[in-house]
Structure formats: structure tokens, C-alpha cells
């Protein structure tokens, strides 16, 4: 079985967000990381490969982006991915990214395609499902558990109000969330050394369209200061919640 993880490159979650002229995200001084859910997906893929009973032959990663995403991809190789593929295109919107990914992976014989539930910058939750539709294969969303036994796939997905155990035949896209792996792996020194020699292929961009355009960004108005209430006078808080905030 061959697994591929769609890897997003996003600003570190503690980044102070700024925009130049309100029209573009200001990248100066930003630390880039693997999108948190994609990192969990990669971790689970590595765990599945390490258990020889699962017959996973390789774990690849693929990212759509310019040369500046390569350090993030090297991190994935250091964590343990066997090879990486960068689609040399600007990630303009979810549809364009999915279309680039579909072109890049369609003939490569991947059995399991993993994507994260959301990228932490543009928060779309769209790429994984779009990719599955473009490839005309099943997708399972909100996946919090993925196990293999031979060629059987056993998935746990969250539904609103519970969980379901589902099975699906390969190839498919699993859109993963928290729970898929306990904690994201970090690269060890040996991994970092080895990553330098692992293949990172650059594939040319396909001709694709974007369906949306980000035209303007805005920072939220600063919140008014927090009203403090004395710990010995919680009745005052109740009064405020009832009569000022009107939420009780």
C-alpha cells in the first residue's frame, strides 16, 4: 500500500497576523510550519508503515507552493516520509490547490490519500473533499482513527453527536482531524540528516482555475477591557450576565 499526505505550509499558530495595504498577508518574519492536522496525518502514516503487518510500502508527501515551502517539506522528510513532491504553483484557492494535487497524484498508484480537516490560515476545510471528487474516489471526513489489517481499512469518523466505524475500499481520501494520532512527531537529528538526501521532486504546474479571490483582509476591532468582578461577590456577575450581557 502506498500512502500520500497532502501537506499544507502555514504560519506558526502564534504568529501575529499583519496585512500589507489590507490586501495581502504580510509574510515578513513569519515562521512556517506543517499544518497541524497534516502533521498528525503524517505521524499516523508513519505509525502504519512501521507496523510491518500493514504492508505499507511507502509514505509520500505532496505540497502545492513555491520554492519557499521546501523547508517545511524537508521537515516532513525528517519526520520520516520517504519522498516528497512539490507542485510548483501558487496556492491561490482551495479549488486550484485540489486541481493541482489531483493532476500530480492521479497516475501514481496511491491507495490512501490523507489530508487535514482544515488549513490553519485560510480555514476552508475544502481541499480534501474537492480532491476526492476530482479523482472520482470515495472520501471519508472527520476521521479520528485509521487502522489497517491486510488490505482492509477500518476508519473511525466523528459525526455530529457521536462516532461511526466505517470501511471503504482503496483508493480513497481520508480527511483527518484530532485523534488520528496522539501527538505529532518531531524530527530526530538522524532524521534531519537523512532528509537532505531524500528525493524532493518538483513538478510543473498544471493549467487550473481558481473559483474564488481574496480581495480584502481586516483585523478585528480590539475588544473592550474585561470587566473584573470580585471573587466574593459572584452575585454581581450573575446580575451583569442577566442585565448587561443578557445571556442568562
Amino acid at each position: 500500500m502506498k500512502i500520500v499526505v497532502c501537506l499544507g505550509n502555514v504560519p506558526d499558530t502564534t504568529t501575529k497576523v499583519k496585512f500589507s495595504d489590507g490586501a495581502a498577508f504580510d509574510k515578513t518574519g513569519v515562521q512556517w510550519i506543517i499544518n497541524p492536522w497534516d502533521e498528525l496525518a503524517l505521524t499516523r502514516a508513519m505509525e502504519l508503515k512501521e507496523d510491518a503487518g500493514n504492508l505499507v510500502s511507502s509514505v509520500s508527501v505532496v505540497t502545492v507552493g513555491g520554492k519557499d515551502v521546501e523547508p517545511t517539506m524537508r521537515k516532513a522528510l525528517a519526520i520520516g516520509a520517504d519522498d516528497a513532491m512539490r507542485v510548483d504553483a501558487e496556492a491561490t484557492d482551495a479549488y486550484a490547490v485540489a486541481a493541482q494535487l489531483a493532476e500530480a497524484i492521479k497516475d501514481k498508484g496511491f491507495d490512501i490519500i490523507l489530508s487535514g480537516i482544515e488549513s490553519s490560515d485560510y480555514n476552508g476545510s475544502m481541499v480534501g473533499g474537492m480532491l476526492a471528487e476530482m479523482l472520482d474516489i470515495p472520501s471519508v471526513s472527520a476521521v479520528s482513527g485509521l487502522n489497517l489489517s491486510g488490505s482492509d481499512v477500518d476508519i473511525t469518523r466523528d459525526i455530529d453527536g457521536g462516532k461511526e466505524q466505517v470501511s471503504v475500499s482503496t483508493p480513497f481520501v481520508a480527511i483527518v482531524q484530532k485523534g488520528i494520532a496522539k501527538e505529532a512527531r518531531i524530527a530526530a537529528m538522524r532524521g534531519i540528516m537523512m532528509a537532505r538526501k531524500k528525493p524532493l521532486a518538483v513538478v510543473p504546474a498544471a493549467e487550473v482555475e481558481s473559483l474564488t479571490e481574496f480581495v480584502e483582509f481586516e483585523l478585528p476591532a480590539p475588544k473592550p477591557p474585561c470587566k473584573m468582578v470580585d471573587a466574593d461577590n459572584v452575585a454581581e456577575l450573575v446580575d451583569l450576565l442577566q442585565n448587561e450581557a443578557k445571556v442568562l
Binding site: L211, E216, D230, V234
Partner: protein, 319 residues
């Protein structure tokens, strides 16, 4: 021409979420000068379907017979109905089901998606929506460039509006037999208020020190009729189930009231709850960052403040 809205049901029953969606679709329909058609998949009684009319749907299309979510089957059904109804806008929830279907439908209909919206479109020409980006740290205006648009609406972000109309019900025959996802087992959460549905939430962090101390959270939640939540370390420690963890990597919720006790207010935690209408922080450290993003705060020991608060609320309710 129409605005189509996918109304999800739970064992044949609609929830507030479904009515939020119809109310939202009705407003969007007014903006573009058309009417609302609701779609329902699964076995729902006509009495229940009729309720959708009250919130503005003129027509309800029911597709019976299928209950398990198979993303491809659901997408095909919605695409067929959207074409038959000449839908210009399709409204879907931004919950687990919506996130599973909307992207596939986008490809099938060549429709741009405005994802995770919290308010009405900013303009209809060009069709522009406002969405949160960077996990709530900013907002963006996004132009949807295609003829047909899909809007996914975040839960609890749009007021339910009762208009008191009636809808006609039509049956739509669709082939639902070709499911590729086989559901082998379902574990439903019972008896508890689901976090996503809760209008009030009481949440605990590492400051509560141990799983054994959760009684104070549960007692207050019970007095309020609230759901319970926690920070990530709490669910990582196994003090609480992972479904309760809110934040950037957990659930994103927008209740009317969120009470955070023993939570420091890390940016990743706040990302999941910052859309709450009112945030109350209880922390024994006056400098905890959580106070910066809260509306009301109490500096004190959560183990004492929470029970006192529960008492005070009981008293106020009895007045």
C-alpha cells in the same frame, strides 16, 4: 432560479441548526430576488418537514430511503436537485456533514465555496462573502466568481427567524443504493448536551488539577443547562473525552456564554471559542492572558468560585 438549502436531520428530527440554515437561506434569497427550496435526505415525517416552511422555505424536496452518510451519494443527490431547481446558491452547514459534502458538490457544480461563514454575504455583485481567517485572528472578503455558489454556514452564528409560512412537499426519486462507505457501527453520545448545540458552555483547563475535580464544572453546567468543554491538555491527559476539547485543533464553537475556568487563554484555545457572544474567565492569576479576550473576569480559585456561581445562579432563578 432558487436558493437551495440542505437541511440535516437527526433520526428524522430537525434541530435548531436546520432552522438557522433555512433562515439564512431565506435572507440570501431576498438579496438575490428568489425563493428557497429545502432538501432533506432520509426518512423525515411530513409534519416535521412542514416546520421548514415556518422559517421561509417555499418548497421542500424529500429524498427518502437513505440514512448513512456516503459523501458521493449525498453529493450526487444534491447536485441533481440543484440542477432541477436551477439553484444559484446552495446553503449547507459548516459542520462535519457539510464539510464532507460541500467540497465535492463544488467540483460537481463548478461552484465556488464561501466556507465557514458567520454572516450574510457582503454584496451580491460581485458576490462577496466575509469569512474568518487565521483561526479567527482576521477576517477576509472573498469574491465567489462562479455562476453557482455554495455557502457553508457556521453553527450558532445566524439568528433563527420565524416567518410563519408554509411549504409544499415534493418527493424526489434518487438512486441511493451505490454507497461506497459502509457503516459498521455507530456510537451515539446520549443524554448529554452536544457541545456544538449548546447555547452555554462551562469549560475547564489544567488549573482544575485533576479529573476528580470536574464536579464543580458539571454542577454549574447543570444549573445553567449548559454543555461542558475543556482545553487540549485536559483531553490529552484523558481527564475528559476528546470530543470536549475546544480550540484550533478541537471543536470551534460559538455559544452565547462561554465560562473558562482554570484556562490560561492560549491563542490556540481562544481560536475555538472567540466567536462566543460573552466570555467569562475564572483564573487565580490576575495576569493570565485569558482576561485580555474575555468580557467578564473573576480572579480566584475555580474550586471555590464555580460552586458559589452555581449557587448565585440558582438564587437568581428562584427570584
Amino acid at each position: 432560479m432558487s436558493v437551495l438549502v440542505y437541511t440535516e436531520n437527526w433520526d428524522g428530527v430537525f434541530k435548531k441548526l436546520s432552522f438557522e440554515l433555512v433562515s439564512y437561506a431565506t435572507k440570501v434569497a431576498e438579496m438575490i430576488g428568489t425563493s428557497v427550496t429545502a432538501v432533506s435526505i432520509g426518512d423525515v415525517a411530513d409534519d416535521e418537514l412542514n416546520r421548514l416552511g415556518t422559517f421561509g422555505a417555499l418548497k421542500v424536496i424529500k429524498v427518502e430511503g437513505n440514512t448513512n452518510l456516503d459523501n458521493q451519494v449525498y453529493t450526487s443527490i444534491l447536485a441533481e436537485v440543484a440542477k432541477a431547481e436551477d439553484a444559484k446558491v446552495v446553503v449547507i452547514s459548516h459542520n462535519n456533514t457539510g464539510k464532507a459534502i460541500a467540497p465535492r458538490l463544488s467540483v460537481k457544480l463548478n461552484a465556488a465555496v464561501g466556507a465557514g461563514l458567520i454572516k450574510l454575504p457582503v454584496s451580491t455583485n460581485p458576490f462577496t462573502v466575509s469569512k474568518k481567517v487565521f483561526s479567527g485572528k482576521a477576517k477576509a472578503n472573498v469574491v465567489l466568481k462562479t455562476d453557482v455558489k455554495i455557502l457553508t454556514l457556521s453553527q450558532n452564528s445566524f439568528e433563527v427567524i420565524e416567518k410563519g409560512g408554509a411549504a409544499t412537499i415534493e418527493t424526489f426519486a434518487a438512486d441511493v443504493s451505490d454507497a461506497k462507505t459502509v457503516v459498521k457501527d455507530v456510537q451515539k453520545q446520549t443524554g448529554k448536551i452536544l457541545l456544538n448545540d449548546a447555547e452555554m458552555v462551562v469549560s475547564g483547563g489544567r488549573g482544575l488539577k485533576s479529573a476528580d475535580n470536574w464536579g464543580v464544572i458539571e454542577d454549574l453546567a447543570e444549573v445553567l443547562g449548559a454543555g461542558t468543554a475543556c482545553s487540549r491538555p485536559v483531553s490529552d491527559e484523558g481527564w475528559r473525552p476528546h470530543e470536549e476539547h475546544t480550540g484550533q485543533t478541537g471543536k470551534i464553537i460559538a455559544p452565547n456564554l462561554y465560562i473558562a475556568a482554570g484556562i490560561s487563554g492560549a491563542i490556540q484555545h481562544m481560536a475555538g471559542i472567540s466567536s462566543s457572544k460573552c466570555i467569562v474567565a475564572i483564573n487565580n492569576d490576575a495576569d493570565a492572558p485569558v482576561f485580555e479576550s474575555s468580557d467578564y473576569g473573576i480572579v480566584g480559585d475555580a474550586m471555590k468560585v464555580l460552586p458559589a456561581l452555581a449557587e448565585a445562579i440558582k438564587e437568581a432563578k428562584n427570584k
